[in-house]
Subunit: 107 residues, 2 copies
Amino acid sequence: MDQLSATFAALADPTRRAILARLTEGPATVKELSEPFDISGPAISKHLRVLEKAGLITRGREAQWRPCQLDATPLREVTVWAENYRRFWDASYARLDALLTEMKEKD
Amino acid sequence: MDQLSATFAALADPTRRAILARLTEGPATVKELSEPFDISGPAISKHLRVLEKAGLITRGREAQWRPCQLDATPLREVTVWAENYRRFWDASYARLDALLTEMKEKD
DNA sequence: AGGTTAGATAACCAAGTGGTTAGGTACGAG
DNA sequence: CTCGTACCTAACCACTTGGTTATCTAACCT
């Protein structure tokens, strides 16, 4: 699975997006991350592994804790990808796009 | 499944992203969309249904053709969501963010 | 009417996903 | 040393997914 697909797949789950949102407030242990959810530890572990494989989090090792930290660089690729479609929803951008195309055709 | 999850799930497949890329050049029939891929018609049909349920395409009806058209509005929600994480990858944005936080704390 | 083309549906299969429980490892505290 | 805590792996389950082939409908063209 390519990087972008892995990122999109990881983001497709609300629990994982909530974990990322929590991590914007700083690193957290697995226990802390699992608090808001009504699911078992192993389920959280699996979500974290998906996020880790997608490169969205990195994990440290402190005694018996394995602190998680956000790594948002894959999200930059997501926005870069989505930017190619901006002209299809952003009216003002579409006008600019049309203008640029027109100018290019005049060359 | 919520809208955002459906969109991310739809985008997690390279074939579906390629279909969207093709549709930026204008509407296309199912046959046209399936040309570049080495998979069966029903497989394409399934991909199109996923894209349709995610609101990324709309489908018309012309004689025996069912032309597909891009609808990028869900992608706007994707960028809106990702924008909340920009400060974690964009250094200059992070500095601006820190400045704003500092100003807020002075109030 | 008969044949061809576009496309959808149905039934099936292998693999993946999101969850569980049970049990194992590693570390700190008493 | 033993106990509790944090976390992981393994095995299992129901459901979904991405693909297939076979079959159906709908429209066009002779």
